[in-house]
Amino acid sequence: MHPTTLPHSLSLTLGAALVLAGAGQAAPPAAATDPPADTSDWKCAACPFFTGYATDTEAGVQYASGANAAYGRYTGIDHTGAYADAAASGQVVTADGTYADYDLERLGLASRDGTVDAGREGHYDVRLNFDGQPTRLYDAPVKLESNRRTVDLLARYFATPSWTLFGEFQRQEKNGTGLTSGAFLTEALQLPLPVGYVTDSLEAGASWAGRHASLRVSYSGSWFSDENAGLEFANPYAPIVPGSTAGELADPPSNHLQQFSAAGNVELPWWATTLNSTVSVGTLRQDQSFLPVSTLAATNVLGINSLNGDVHLSHYAAGLASRPLPKLTLRGNAVYDGRDDKTPVLSIPYVVTDTFPGGTAVTPRYSEDRVRLDGGADYSLARWLRVGVGGKFDDNHYGPGQVYTNTQETESWGRATVLPIDSLSIAFKAGDGLRKVSSFDAAAVPVQESVLVRDYNYAPRDRTFSSLTGTWAITATLAWTIEAALIKDDFRSSPLGLQSDHEQRASSTFAWTPRESFTTYVDFGYQRLFTLENGSTGNAGTTPWLAAQTDRFWNLSVGGRWVPQERWTVSLDYLLAPSYSDTDTTTGGLQQAFPQNFTKLDSAHLDVLYRWTPALQLRVRYTHETYHENDWALDSVGPTTVPNYLALGLMPYRDNVNMIGVTVRYQFGRNFGAKPSP
């Protein structure tokens, strides 16, 4: 599946980079050694270097009324009540160049995060980062929430001005309760899913930087572990076969990914040319013990304990950028990505939903080779006109056992940037693409699948696209930007599946700054997405049908910042963001529309800052937010609404929140004075 040798150009680039790396001990990146200027009189006496400490702390309380899972989805503010509000940032620098910078936010919430950078100037540095990420799922009779906590430690040692050694360790923990479901043949039930994930990641390596070249080599590893092997659940229905009283789902298996990577670039002495390349090879493995074939004890006849999963990943890339003429720039990239699944193919005797034996099935393995080529050229025809052309070519080869062997996609585009006046820039881009697909390997089609189907990445597709962007500094105080785009995909040669999709987008921003103490903005956005799919055509015994989905999004933001006098700063922001999702199906000439799925986010935020003294400030914040969601998949779906589906009774996201916060901000510090001149 993989090439055994690197492309010649890539070998050349890497070789050059390695030679440079070997020879480059004395090549600092900046003009810090042997400067062309006589700097002996450059005392930097006026330079306000900082030595001492400075702290900006903010603490107080905020009270939220009406908060629930909707408001707390990612903020953690998920119930009515008071929340501590604290933040701090600051800097400490000592005379010997040892320093620490820190920035801590939302310390009273589950979404708290912070970064501490410390080190000794020019010798080493260390960065410690922690981050809390709450996730609150729908309001439900059972609490569906999880928290992701990430701690990241990065250390760098500056061995020489050119060489840096680095190491980074990260631990991500995710704990809580998610949502899943289980089934017994024709009956299903929603289930709370205990979550206990830990992902440890390590990257270590070295980088070298010269004046015209650089190189970075690294090893990275990522180990995922799951404290739960599976989720066993009782059958709430009358068993279809005797004994089918419980089911068990497998949790995600523990796995590990390890990669070696090298990346570098070199500037060539001709035409301002830069070559860059990246090589990365690695393995993704998992060998977790299997669960029993079924809760029906008599069916456990597997005879194999684990998968010995082994996927080899490779990524080879080379890029080039050049300016052969002052007005002409060229660039291009060639990338190979390989996924070679060397996992043994197994024949597995399986049981259908812990109900009855289903026979023996062969596990599918998916390998692929992808080559991407892209490039472009831009030429400045005049001071006011720049034109460009470009294109890309994707060639994907799929491994044995897949229904397609190959897809190829070409895309080309042209663009022009016009500056009719200095303050106005208009850019227009348009192009088209064509994806071709190899013939279908009917032998690889699962028995229950139609041989006519084409999925997203396999469907032969014609694409046209265009975009327009404009920026205009109308006056010294008024600026306007606009962006619009159209994309149209036509899958017309697909007998089944997607037939077409369209995307239309437009957005615009006005910013008005009549004076330094007063700024305002109006921001608007719109997007429409449409897809049409064809179902069941050509299948004997079923009625052909069409399904159309149209999603529309709007957003309008208005706001400003006002400093009426030296002691006061007032900010006000308002946001309105509705979305509409319409689905209809047509069969037998009858078009039937689903109820419209609808969301509306309506939010206003006021922030008033009063400077009591230069060091002491009082801040009052008020937020009002309403969020309303209609969703036909959840609305009115209680535990017994669907006879063969036992639901948890989840409610769509809806909230009406008022939140007020009062904090005191205090800044203090001491500067021991300018450092001696360097």
Partner: protein
Amino acid sequence: MPRSPARAGARLALLFATLAGFALAPRHAAASDFSPQGADSCLGCHSDVAVTGIFRTVHARPDDPRGPFGHGGLQCESCHGPGGAHVKAGGGPLAGMIEFGAKSPTPVARQNAQCLTCHQADAGHDWASGAHAASEVPCAGCHSLHQPKDPMQNATAQIEVCTTCHQAQHTDLFKPSHHPLREGKMACTSCHSPHGSTAPAQLVKNTVTETCTGCHAEFRGPFLWEHQPVAEDCSNCHDPHGSAQPALLKIRPPFLCQTCHEGVGHPSIVNTPQGLPGGAPSAFLLGGGCLNCHSQIHGSNHPSGRALMR
């Protein structure tokens, strides 16, 4: 005539030597081009906070030999170029000095080359062949070096900077199903490398799937029973920038699943509003749709997970 391996090797060595010589060659600038007293010359006029904020940053640390203000460094002129003529003229025209920013008269390529002098390794490997270089985005169009804290280091501020140009993604922030960018818990750089990368869409990892599973490692597999579009590319089904459908899905199940699964039996059945409450409520349609039974859609390691139901 057959090519001699020795001659080919010699040519290659010559090419490497040329490149090495170029890479290690000093830059050329005459001492007389520079100001007489370095930063002291500059700060005589440019002493406002908008300038001196840099002395609270990594770019103005006197004990860092890598930095502009390290021992023997060219201080302000490390980045802005020789300022001798500017000083001699008592200010006014920049006389060839480099001014940074999107509205600067200095060509973007020259601005960025100055930054890349130091930042080749940590930011610039793939810059030259990336989309931002092709669009002539200046480094200072995003980064504010003279501010004590560069806004690009803060998630919320970074999103504001990125969506100044990428306005369509600003609309994405407010979609019902979204990654937590609007809440300040992720930044654009959580997934994308604005300095260029060899991955599609300038992603931070080699592929879409590797990028997504950096956080969602539970979907990484390899599973006993794989789902082909999952192994291939998460964006087959999900739109990471936001969606009107749950879980960032492009189309709502069951219709999303039916774009591929149209075979005989229940996958081919048309789902209509008759399957909603008030009609004949359908488990194919309500709740998670297909996922009510096929909940292990990302792959299953259960021996009986063939249909991703275990």
